[in-house]
Structures are given as structure tokens and as C-alpha cells.
Symmetry: C2
Subunit: 234 residues, 2 copies
């Protein structure tokens, strides 16, 4: 069976387009025909993921499963999810969706390994939901890395407003907030900061900044993992 | 039935991501849930469109129909095609695909009307295939507008290499070539130039240039037409 990447997007829509752009950028190709074939399901009418994890809000799981089912019926042979927080439901999505899923946190950790970051502390710029889900902390711990998270105050006054600003298309405002959050993580000892919410790379990359060099873009890492998956299955 | 936009992409892949980004940018939304739900089929393993039109190459029609069928079976209620040249097959695609298609040239002409361009000459930056297909010229003529196309030499030395450079990810090189092609169309009397190949906005927008103000981005125009379609059907 020819590989067809199924992309579960819409969480949020600009982050999905950013992932698709990075998927193209990371693919070694000189012609259209060398690029990765994909089917993308981008239906943003889905319950908020952090609210479901933290406040017992409506579960997005049935909505995500509908997306994966649509992708599988359309011929997808593996899934990438352009949302970090959604990976809280990874096990259920893979089991009930009946397709392998390329895990974004595994992809980000592969980037850490590639950069020879094997000791010390790594920062996590993510939603409250991803922090509470714990799958990044578990992976970092398994690699002997400490995990630095934002203070509750920074989550409330910087991280969440930055993510919401991206979702509202206000990238300049998002940039200011996200850079401040990254600075706080760096001050707390993080030698590298994983941009572990798919809105955050859009905020950080909106303008040049010296802190870029310390950021690891989980979205781009997922794109690279998808390219590796495609090369393996072609 | 809730509207779900089906996007036929892959021609080429970066142009598809550009269209999806512009679709988000053009949607008035403050939250994820207000964005347009879509399903995108991006399978670039498809015969070259200009070669099929001009040199009797293999037809891309069955490949595009497979894409539209996949989108329809996935729940799509209308189609947008992120490739100008593919609209050569518009009638067959709409009839055999059994879904309405939002025509990119109609969208671009709506932009001309919005900008009050109702007389004079309009340039066409497009593939040889789109020029030969004639659907832009017909629409401009029906509006009383002259159509200026690139010289055969410019098509060979500027336009096609610019498009190929975008497909190979070489945007700086593509920019230089595409700006030269736009300059030639402006010198030939075009007061506005339609970027009528989905690779060309990526080339033009790569860097600032005074000619931007004279360019009409057919990709963004299609995104706006999709937003209008969604508002009408929601």
C-alpha cells in the first residue's frame, strides 16, 4: 500500500497551515511529485482540549476519532496530529482510530537528541493541558533531562494569551507574550525550550529574536518525523 | 448539511499550504471554532497540467477526479482547487465530481471588480497551460478588459523557471524571476497583474517590492471566495 499521511488538524487552523508548510519545507524535493502525499482533516468545531483535561469539559475524543476515521477511509496509512495537547488522547486515538500515529513529543525528543542535549534542563512552552497531561515530562525524564515549566502566573498572563492571540490572528501581540514566556523559562535554567503548542512557533517566529536559537519547534520536529516515516514506507 | 470545504491541492504542495494559510487569514475569526472546516487532498503524484494541455501529455483528470471523489466521500460539500491551470478541466471536474467548484478565475475577477478595475489592460502571470486554456482571457474579455500575456521568451526564461523554483523551494531565485516577468507585463501596459499560477504569489511575496501594489493574488482571491461561500451556507 502506498503511504498516505493523514493529518488531523484544525487545532488550530493557522497551526495546521504552519505544519503543512513545514512538511513541504522539510521534504527533500525538486519537483511536486517528490513531495509527501497527504489528506488533511481540519475541522475546528471541536471542544477545547485543555478545558477537557483540566476542567472536565466536553471530550474532544469523539471529534478527533471522526477525523481519523475520515482520513482512514480516504486512504491514510498513518496519522500526524498538528496539536500537542491532543496527544493526551494518543493511546485511545491510536487504538480506536486503527492507524499508527507519529507522536509529536517523540519527534521533539528526537530533535533534542540530534542537538546533543542529553543532560540539564529543558523548558516546556505549552498549554496547561499539555503540562497536566505529562507526556512531555515523562519522555524528558526517561532521557535524564529535567523539565522546566512556566509558573502558574506566566501560564495565565503570557502563555495562554499568546496562544489565544495566534488563534485570533494577532501574531505581533502573540510574539511579545511568547518571547516573555520563553525568557522566563530560560531564566529558570532551561538550556533549550520546546515550543510544545502548535500555536507557539507562529508567535515566536513572527519576528527575529536572539532566543530563537534556544527554541525547539515541535511542529517542525513532527514534520521531520513524517518525512522519515514517508522515506521508510516508500 | 453543514458546509465542509473540499480542497484539491498538491499542485504544488507549497502553493496548497499558501492557500490554506490565506484561507485562515481571510476568515473573520477570533477562535478556532469560527474557522472554516475543510478536508484537503494533497497528492502531488499527478501528471503535469501544462504538459497535458500543450503537448498531449498524460491527462491529470482521472487523478483530480480521484481527489474530488475522496473529498466528497469524506463529506465535502463544495470544492476549491489550489491550482489555476487545473481549471482547464473545470467542466469535467464539476460534472463528474458531482460537487460545485468555486472557480479561481471568477474569484480573481471579483477582486478586479472590488478594486474598480473595469477598463484597460490586465496582465496574466501564469503557466503556458493556463494561457492556452483561455479561461482567464474569456472572463476578462467579458468584462471589457484587455488581457496582456507574457512574451513566449518571457514564459520560457522567466515565468516557467520561477514556478519551477518555487516547486523546488528556491523562493529567492523565484522572486527575482517573477518580479522581472511582472515588470514586463506592466511595461506592456497592464495596470494590474493577476498572479494566476498558485506558485507565483509565493515568488512575488518572498520579498518587498513596489510592484506588489499592482498584483492581484488569485490564491487569496480564491480564499476570499471560499469565505463568502462558507458564510452563505452556514
Amino acid at each position: 500500500m502506498r503511504p498516505l499521511l493523514g493529518i488531523l488538524g484544525g487545532m488550530g487552523p493557522l497551526a495546521t497551515a504552519d505544519f503543512l508548510t513545514k512538511l513541504v519545507q522539510e521534504t527533500p524535493a525538486n519537483h511536486d511529485q517528490e513531495h509527501i502525499p497527504y489528506l488533511a482533516y481540519c475541522v475546528p468545531q471541536i471542544p477545547d482540549r485543555p478545558a477537557a483535561i483540566l476542567h472536565n469539559g466536553e471530550s474532544p475524543l469523539p471529534y478527533m476519532l471522526k477525523g481519523i476515521t475520515t482520513l482512514r477511509q480516504g486512504g491514510a496509512t498513518a496519522i500526524a496530529i498538528a496539536c500537542n495537547t491532543a496527544h493526551h488522547w494518543f493511546d485511545d486515538l491510536e487504538r480506536l482510530g486503527e492507524l499508527p500515529i507519529i507522536h509529536i513529543a517523540d519527534a521533539a525528543c528526537a530533535e533534542l537528541a540530534r542537538l546533543n542535549i542529553t543532560t540539564g534542563a529543558v523548558g516546556l512552552l505549552s498549554t496547561d493541558g499539555t503540562v497536566a497531561a505529562g507526556f512531555f515530562q515523562q519522555r524528558l525524564s526517561a532521557r535524564g533531562l529535567k523539565c522546566v515549566i512556566s509558573t502558574p502566573e506566566a501560564q495565565t498572563t503570557l502563555v495562554k494569551p499568546a496562544i489565544d492571540a495566534v488563534k485570533a490572528g494577532q501574531l505581533a501581540h502573540a510574539h511579545t507574550l511568547a518571547i516573555a514566556a520563553v525568557q522566563q523559562l530560560a531564566s529558570a535554567g532551561a538550556q533549550a525550550i520546546i515550543l510544545a503548542c502548535t500555536e507557539t512557533p507562529l508567535a515566536i517566529e513572527f519576528a527575529d529574536h536572539s532566543l530563537h536559537a534556544h527554541c525547539i519547534d515541535a511542529t517542525r520536529a513532527l514534520a521531520r518525523a513524517c518525512v522519515a516515516w514517508h522515506q521508510k514506507h516508500s
